[in-house]
Amino acid sequence: MSRRLLGTGLLVGAVFAGISATPAAAQDDVTLIVGLTQPWETLNPVVGFAVPEYEVWNIQYTGLTTRSADDFSAEPGLAESWVENEPGLSYTYTLREGLLWSDGEPITAEDVAWNINTSRDQEWSNYISTVTNLTAEVVDDRTVTVTSSVPDPRLPAVEIYVLPKHVWEAQASPETIDSYDGLDGVGSGPFTISDYRSEESLTMTANENYYDGRPVIDTIIFRYFSNPDAMVAALQRGEIDAAQGLPASSVSQLEGEENIEVVVGFQGGFDEIAFNAGAVEGQPHPAVLDFGFRTALNHAIDKAGATEDLWFGLAESATTISVSADPKWIPEIPEDELFAYDPDVAISMLDDLGYVDTNGDGFREMPGGGDNIVLRHAVNTDSDLGGAMGELFSGWMNAVGIDVELSAYDQDQLFGVIVDGTYDTFYWGWVPFVDPDPMLSYFTEAELYNYNDANWTNARFEELYLEQKEEVDVDRRIEIVHEMVRILHDDAAYVALWYSPDIQAVRTDRFEGYVRQPADIGPVIFSQSSPSYALLQPVGADEGTTGTTDSTDDTVEGSGDEAGAGTTAAPTDGDASDTDTDTGTGTDDDGESDGGGDGDGDNTTVILIVVIAVLVVGAGVALVLKRKGSADDRE
């Protein structure tokens, strides 16, 4: 018996000895750990679309132009300047001098032109809406001209991630581009991907060649939490330095904490209750097609009450949909046109229109009698608030005598129900981009059976949509967009409920220099161009400690001013290129072999399994031998 145990012990010892051979790495890196509650799906910027993916690309890649932190205006990116040849049609960009990719290769005008022209020719999913009318022409190594075949108000901003041609060229064919994993780790931004463990974490390392100077932080680790409460606990314990996507209910718990500051950021997201406007085959209840009926029901919807109840006062109730992360695109709606919440108004309007209850069961019928009006409300079960909103909506409607039937669908089924048009109302939400065009397009005929989820169309809206698309005068375009949003609002078919916030929190005892985008109201991380990371500094590192202890707004806003100065202070890219080549190749090997998720993390798991299996089998064998032994004894 003892000999057997010894044998097992030796075996286990040998396995452990085998793995402890690798020495531990240096630990004095400055590491920022950010918690998030949504996993990555792919890191290929051509096809991915999840929020945490945009964050990584925002950090890893610089566009020809970037977005200003304050108001999203176009700022120098890879291009240090540009000349307008023809407004909305042609621009010539001059790249910064001495630009290098993180692996040491030069960044040239050819890289930029290749991205624009190839993505257009191959119709890359995430690029095509930006580049469809663009053509890029290399003038010389540092100069590139971009022309559009139609007036494009988005220019001079070219909102695409410029990928390294020397890495991506091999992937760029329509057959292979979509399935590339994007883990090469070669970029032009302040940090590049160095390790990715799917469903677990993503690590980014400082880019020594970053044009604005190597960032102060050495490493960023994004850590995925499938359980938001665990993320809250990790933040409280200091296991993570910042967190994105906190549950609204956790805010009151965090607000009292020393060294933790909650940031409620707005970047255009909103939720809505939509009425089926009937532009597809499956028809709504006839009452819903009546503008008067819809208007009456608008007055029965208590936006402010719902916002307060569901967001604990963190969100703002909405007046109208927002079509952009930039508030300038949202029109001001006069007070008296807002369909203010007042059930009595709703009741008298419905009475006047002839929607009355003739059979005395408490629910109204169509004018002239018949069956009760029953609204089919589709509940989105993938939304945290879907169930609650269904109950609230049904309560509001019942209060004015309208019956509601709730049906639950997951997101995929709901999408199908919307396309089929077999619903009367539903609750869902949107997060628009900076340019208002995509959000506006969701209310056009072209998007029926697709993203036009209210099945709503309007001739005037359609006209204006085409007009704004090519209007290069910003003020005029704002006017058009405002008019479009007003048309949608006035038709009472798409009821924006609230502007949904991004709830984030940062540990104020760890890093300072977070920047809100857009200024004052936006989030500090996971924003449109994610400017914070390159500017962050450990608390108390360099120049004094601004706002270390006063854990209120000061920290975030105060450090915004400091940001510009902070950047240039970082060490520059002298002899850094050789260090970086290492990082690049290391990632390459890892990513290629097993689609990420490998490395010593997985070895440890397998080794543990082997050790445990050996122990169990050993114990089993021991048991059997022993039983056999005792059986022999008996005879």
Binding site: R197, S198, W430
Partner: protein, 322 residues
């Protein structure tokens, strides 16, 4: 155990697997509406491109064509490309198998071990305070939803008493290797494994208890006692080996669930295994991924059922085919 018997059992397993394969396909086609539309909602992808994707994913083909393709490719062990990650489903599954095997495997072993021992002790002292406390405590854990139990342990031993990490599989940011990495992994494993162990314990305890109680009424125990054997020996040599039979079967069958076991617990503790992959795939819905996962889960259950069948025959001469 003759070859014909084993052959028959294996054949039976294979036909079950084929049945699962077919059901799998139609099951997901029933719930699906338009995965492409819902996956890309709110992204910048224009409609023409979406149609192209629907085409590329084979969603425009008629159902029979899709089915033939599915069967042919599955037979070649090609489970398709995940809609969400754009990587081959098989690669995705492979990278998540080991964390799940570790977590659920450890829990399965511990719960079987302690559950059986507890059940036997309870049966042997039937009606005593020990019996009562073992039976009721394991039943409490058994009837508790495992995600809730997990949350309680998380709050208790990671938040209030910060002894264990709040989730994940390793300490991020530390670059520990070798023995330190193993210890770190065990540290992270502790709470989720404890949750699952507690959750599974009750089943083993109850089965082991009632099985031993059955055996305790048998004549051969009376004979053994009459031979003058001490109580302990009667239990160890005569009662327990016979009572183990149904428990072993249960353990073997449960091993089949090791792969699919822990959707809720993996989610609570952020353990990057197959359970969480399933939860994420459902959100899409990522049909190829779900099909692949379900096939792997079913195959594991069928395989371990087969093993249970064979082991049972080997252990118990009474069911041996003639």
């Amino acid at each position: 155990m003759n070859a014909a018997f084993v052959g028959k059992k294996i054949l039976g397993s294979i036909s079950t697997l084929i049945f699962v394969l077919i059901v799998n396909f139609f099951l997901f086609r029933v719930v699906q509406k338009d995965p492409v539309g819902s996956l890309f909602r709110g992204s910048r992808v224009p409609q023409a491109k979406l149609d192209e994707l629907r085409d590329q994913f084979g969603l425009e083909d008629p159902l029979p064509t899709q089915f033939v393709l599915y069967v042919r490719e599955t037979a070649r062990l090609n489970f398709g490309i995940s809609y969400q990650t754009r990587q081959p489903v098989w690669d995705e599954i492979q990278s998540k198998i080991w964390p799940t095997v570790l977590l659920v495997g450890v829990a399965a072993i511990l719960s079987a071990l302690f559950g059986i021992i507890g059940g036997f002790i309870a049966a042997w002292r039937r009606g005593s305070a020990t019996d009562y406390s073992i039976t009721s405590s394991t039943m409490v854990f058994y009837s508790m939803p495992d995600f809730w139990l997990g949350m309680l342990l998380l709050v208790g031993f990671a938040v209030m008493l910060p002894w264990f990490p709040v989730g994940g599989m390793s300490d991020l940011g530390s670059s520990a290797t070798g023995i330190e990495a193993v210890i770190d992994r065990l540290h992270h494993l502790a709470l989720p494994a404890l949750t699952l162990t507690l959750a599974y314990l009750g089943e083993y305890a109850i089965v082991a208890r009632s099985s031993l109680l059955d055996v305790m009424g048998e004549d051969y125990l009376t004979v053994a006692r009459a031979k003058g054997l001490r109580d302990k020996l009667v239990r160890r040599r005569h009662a327990v080996p016979n009572a183990l039979l149904p428990v072993v079967t249960l353990a073997a069958i449960n091993l089949g669930f090791v792969l699919s076991g822990a959707i809720a617990v993996e989610t609570v503790f952020g353990w990057p295994g197959l359970g969480r992959a399933t939860a994420d795939a459902i959100r899409g819905p990522d049909l190829p991924m779900l099909q692949g996962l379900f096939l792997v889960f079913s195959a594991a259950v069928i395989f371990f059922n087969l093993i249970a069948d064979l082991v049972y025959v080997w252990l118990d001469p009474r069911v041996r085919p003639t």
